[in-house]
């Protein structure tokens, strides 16, 4: 295993320490239990938004804490759900009196623990709503998941719901907007290489030198199929077509197109995929009105990419364009 780490058991802690130092103007980190909040939390009268999940997907979620996006994030160990006490503590910390929204990727551990945390927070008198993202069209059930996995749409839902919360909209409305992004969004990913979990010390799965896996999960969970590596054009088709046909996205639709790197993929390749995605959307009469290209929901050092499309209306576009100031996404500030 080749990684820029000290001891595997200290990866999450030391990475959080580095993050806290690098972004001291935006965030602060609590270590017992682990959670990241804005440096100036809570915001009175604003819905607090908490997300979280296993580490190894950076900048998701901690990198999206800040104005216009999350109020707090709970990092678990690598590819391991955070615990209810983390989520409860984060929920208490960001409660500004208008309730708290939990944004949860659909993995069994995350869902159960966030449910328990919501119950605990309600017992503390905090109103909590939860939205579970489940946008991955690759497989119906999976390792760690009943139903579809939550992947790329989570980034976009955090941004858009975050903007709605910043406008001091009520909890129910912010949750409904978050659900709308999830309902309007579909994703699929692929891998050229496996990732290596530090504590395991070896690749999560074996992928021969000339093969790729289509439909991979962000923890290296099995996807749809393995095959010889194809061209960027063919790979983009294999990801985009099932996404488009699932919702379905139709001619005349406006979409946000998100091309995401898995952690070990250079930007030069992501732009090639984005170029191919434009051709496919144009060919089907689907208009890309906003986009995001980069590594935002990763799988440690995995080489590969995912595509997410979200059907956009004027309300969602306005919320997407609203100012955001986090370590991982920043504009309009």
């Amino acid at each position: 295993m080749k990684k820029l780490i000290n001891k595997p058991e200290n990866v999450v802690k030391e990475s959080l320490q580095g993050m806290a130092l690098a972004h001291a103007n935006l965030i602060k980190v609590s270590y017992n239990p682990y959670f990241i909040t804005r440096s100036n939390t809570p915001t009175e009268g604003k819905v607090g938004i908490v997300s979280g999940g296993g580490s190894g997907h950076e900048p998701l979620h901690g990198g999206f804490v800040g104005f216009g996006m999350l109020d707090a994030a709970c990092p678990g160990e690598v590819f391991t759900s955070p615990t209810p006490d983390q989520m409860q503590a984060a929920t208490l910390a960001v409660n500004g009196g208008a309730g708290v929204l939990h944004i949860v990727k659909n993995y069994t551990g995350d869902v159960l623990n966030f449910e328990m945390a919501a119950d605990l927070a309600r017992a503390d008198g905090i109103e909590v709503e939860s939205v579970v993202t489940n946008d991955d069209v690759a497989v119906k059930d999976s390792l760690y998941t009943a139903g579809r996995r939550g992947v790329g749409v989570t980034v976009l839902a955090e941004k858009i719901a975050g903007a709605a919360a910043e406008q001091k909209r009520p909890l129910k409305e912010v949750a409904d907007i978050c659900r709308k992004v999830n309902n309007y969004g579909r994703s699929m990913g692929m891998a050229l290489t496996s990732c290596t979990v530090p504590a395991a010390g070896k690749p999560t799965f074996d992928l021969p030198d000339d093969e790729m896996e289509i439909g991979i999960g962000i923890h290296g969970e099995p996807g749809r199929s393995r095959m010889k590596v194809k061209t960027a054009a063919e790979i983009t088709e294999m990801l985009a077509n099932p996404i488009i046909e699932d919702l379905p996205f139709k001619s005349g639709d406006s979409v946000l197109a998100f091309v995401n790197g898995m952690g070990g993929t250079p930007l030069i390749e992501l732009y090639i995929i984005y170029n191919e995605l434009n051709k496919i959307c144009a060919g089907r009469g689907i208009k890309i009105v906003r986009n995001l290209v980069g590594s935002y929901i990763t799988s440690l050092d995995m080489a590969g990419c995912s595509i997410t499309l979200v059907k956009m209306d004027d309300e969602l576009i306005k919320l997407w364009d609203a100012p955001v100031n986090t370590p991982g996404l920043r504009w309009g500030i």
Copy 2:
């Protein structure tokens, strides 16, 4: 070779097409010859800033075209200098009547071609100044380089000189500020894996499964030494100490600390390196007043990192903090 590409010979063109589509509000791409400018170039009365170099280092340089940074970038083929006609065309395109600054990484091809382009532009009546960056302390001469290589400091020089140009300062002043950043900056990098140039189809060099290379160049040029992979703490020492001792950075100095990923390195690891760098600087009384952590000057899919320190004064800090709006760096806008 596993890459998200179509034909190796089309990588640069298709990546530029994707970039143009993704960032149409900020940049436009000319294809004959290749150069990227701001969408609204030239800016009358402002010094134009042009940089460029081989592709494969994204987001450098094209991702730094936009308000507060570059006016144009010239991408060569992968790891190959752009040609004088690209640089001349870019220089003409961004000339707003106040002259043009060329920021050139110290590689023999880049330096020669930018010199020729400067002569051609001067013959067209444009005042041109050139600054060559040469911040890499790893080796004195190298493949493709007489003297030290230009690496991480280039990103920071482009940001800081870009801010000075935005204030409509005269060409000589903008060039002097750029030189100051280079003179005050030092860098060193390391690799856990080789990169693979698409046209070559195989790794640039062989690095055994348990070894790393210290002092690597951004084209996979040989560094100082190879050894078994060490901990993040040891690696950070091996990079930071030669940097600190070279300038030298002294107790009481304020610095900008830049931890850069080489393209195949996940963010979670870069934050661990940044955490270690903070300890080293604190131990020597060096104060980190600004930082940048992420993959900004890459080497295709290489796994590894580099560290850059720049000694900062009030003027440089103010210019660093100034608004910037490019595909690769964005704040204050």
